[in-house]
């Protein structure tokens, strides 16, 4: 790998990193704004126009608070907890394809941190690690509520990962590739997976709610039962990291949903736009502008799903623990397996039949 390519990759990773942080930061603002609007209030609107400086104010507050570690806590693990949560949350965004390619001076740059042929597997591995942050932090706090929250988080994440993986298998059977870039490019035009996998999509989005510990599956931090859940003993920026990691996870899972089911940067009529732009501006500038439009579309989809997360949060009450487990093991997993069988049958019999009929 020569130096230019290396520096391009570094720059891309850096941009992805900053973008992830920025979106997570403004998700906290959006969360409060959406909550306010849904509850017929205004939400934060004092810090800057429309409250846009609120995340900075919150961060400032978090940084200046006392960084307290309980006397009987396991000090190193107590610090490691939020670090792990943050680290695993940030790792996942590296393989998301944000757009197609940029062209300049004969270089073709993927708008993707790492083009990996096991992209989705990598995301799954990293997301599965995410529970360690919560588990370690909850255990290290030496507090029964924290421990209960951590145990809940662990069992919930493991239960829902099964159904999530199974619902994903149906997608993989259709795409026959684990690479996220490949999955996106197969959904070119209006050929989105949501039209082929509606059931799989519902299972996947439910599971991603559970994976992010969002309402209605926020049992690890449900304050009515567990005080603050796994972060009961946390304060200052360590608490901030936990909350921030949740928003990063939300962004990553929204991005993954739009990549897997909503065609990523694809939109209907993009070929027509592409030819118009390349005719007007030449193959380099036109191509780049088309890529930018695709990226904007991708972010539009992702932001919509972040909004959807918030929308659901202020609509549905929390599940009871037995309801959560029943839903995960008795409903979603059988449904996901059923979906795999249906997809398999369709790929094997229906698709050849339709192609034969069309020809």
């Amino acid at each position: 790998m020569d130096l230019i390519e290396f520096s391009i990759k570094t720059a891309t990773i850096f941009v992805v990193f900053v973008l992830t942080l920025l979106i997570a930061m403004y998700s906290t603002w959006a969360e409060r704004k959406v909550a306010g609007f849904i509850q017929d209030r205004m939400g934060p609107n004092r810090a800057g126009p429309g409250g846009l400086l609120q995340p900075l104010a919150d961060a400032g507050k978090m940084f200046f608070k006392e960084d307290f570690i309980p006397a009987l806590a396991n000090k190193w693990l107590f610090i490691a907890g939020p670090c792990l949560a943050m680290l695993t949350a940030l790792l996942a965004s590296a393989v998301i394809p944000f757009g197609s390619t940029f062209r300049f001076n004969g270089h073709e740059v993927n708008l993707q941190g790492v083009e990996s042929n096991i992209g989705i597997l990598y995301v799954f591995g990293v997301v599965a690690l995410g529970v360690y942050g919560i588990m370690v932090g909850g255990w290290a706090s030496n507090n029964k509520f924290s421990l209960l929250g951590a145990i809940r988080a662990a069992s919930q994440n493991i239960s829902y990962e099964v159904a999530m993986g199974l619902s994903l298998i149906a997608i993989l059977m259709m795409s026959s590739s684990l690479s996220l870039g490949e999955i996106v490019s197969q959904q070119h035009g209006g050929n989105w997976n949501i039209f082929y996998q509606p059931l799989g999509f519902i299972i996947f989005i439910t599971c991603s709610f559970a994976e992010c510990n969002r309402v209605p599956f926020d049992l690890p931090e449900c304050e009515t039962e567990l005080v603050g859940g796994y972060h009961t003993e946390y304060g200052s920026m360590k608490l901030g990291f936990y909350l921030f990691a949740e928003y990063i996870n939300m962004f990553v899972s929204s991005a993954i949903i739009s990549v897997l089911y909503f065609g990523g940067y694809n939109y209907p009529g993009m070929d027509w736009v592409y030819t118009q732009l390349t005719d007007a501006f030449g193959t380099q500038t036109g191509h780049n502008i088309a890529t930018l439009i695709g990226t904007a579309v991708f972010f539009g989809k992702t932001l919509f799903f972040i909004f959807f997360y918030m929308w659901v949060r202020w609509t549905i009450p929390r599940f009871r623990y037995d309801q959560l487990m029943n839903l995960g093991w008795k409903k979603l997993i059988p449904l996901a397996i059923f979906n795999i069988i249906i997809t398999g049958a369709a790929v094997l019999f229906l698709k050849p039949a339709i192609t034969a009929w069309l020809n």
């Binding site: 959406v34 609007f37 509850q39 017929d40 519902i202 929308w311 659901v312 609509t315 549905i316």
Partner: protein, 197 residues
């Protein structure tokens, strides 16, 4: 007796498949919340926008002067007697020669104090006053205070300013709105609420 038609009979019937699927219920809920998302917000942005409290709102006290600028209060003490919170105290004094342009009657209140921590803004002083001297303003509050010294209001804060007289001209919300517009355009100046020191 049935008061409203909103009450629903509780039933323990087995849920239908549609109800057990839970997703239609979620969709209904989402529709309700998104409706609220786009609904007009009821918030009044307080320090910038103030709600009209109505003509009979009982705010801070004012000691009225008559049309010649003479204080109406004669220090009869009926307001202090009427006050259930014992917030009012006063010291009476006799009017000297040459002070006829300051005080309307021969006796006046040399000191008139209202303890705003004790006052419950019931308006009984207003009702008790035989000289129409004390009123509770409908347009101004007692401001926030940081010190106990700021709580006892003397005549310096209570007596009406002749350049900015207190009149209760707007009796309905619409009249108040019209008056507010006139105030904003500078057409009416005498009813502008005095800036509280």
């Amino acid at each position: 007796m049935q008061l409203t038609n909103r009450s629903k009979q509780v039933s323990n019937k087995e849920m239908t498949l549609m109800e057990r699927a839970y997703l239609p219920a979620i969709a209904t809920g989402l529709a309700i919340t998104i409706k609220h998302f786009f609904a007009k917000k009821v918030t009044i942005q307080y320090p910038e926008v103030k709600r009209y409290l109505g003509p009979v709102f009982r705010g801070r006290h004012i000691l009225k002067r008559d049309e010649d600028g003479r204080e109406r209060c004669t220090a009869c003490g009926l307001c202090a007697v009427a006050c259930p919170a014992e917030a009012i105290s006063m010291i009476a004094a006799e009017r000297e020669k040459g002070e006829e342009n300051l005080y309307r009657e021969e006796k006046y209140a040399a000191v008139y104090e209202v303890n705003m921590l004790r006052c419950i803004f019931c308006g009984l002083c207003e009702e008790a006053c035989p000289k129409q001297a004390v009123y509770l303003r409908h347009d101004e509050f007692i401001p926030v205070f940081a010190d106990r010294d700021q709580v006892i209001w003397g005549k310096d804060l209570l007596v009406e300013d002749m350049n900015n007289r207190y009149t209760r001209e707007a009796w309905t919300k619409e009249e108040a709105r019209v008056l507010d517009l006139k105030k904003a355009s500078g057409e009416v100046t005498n009813v502008v609420p005095r800036a509280i020191p």
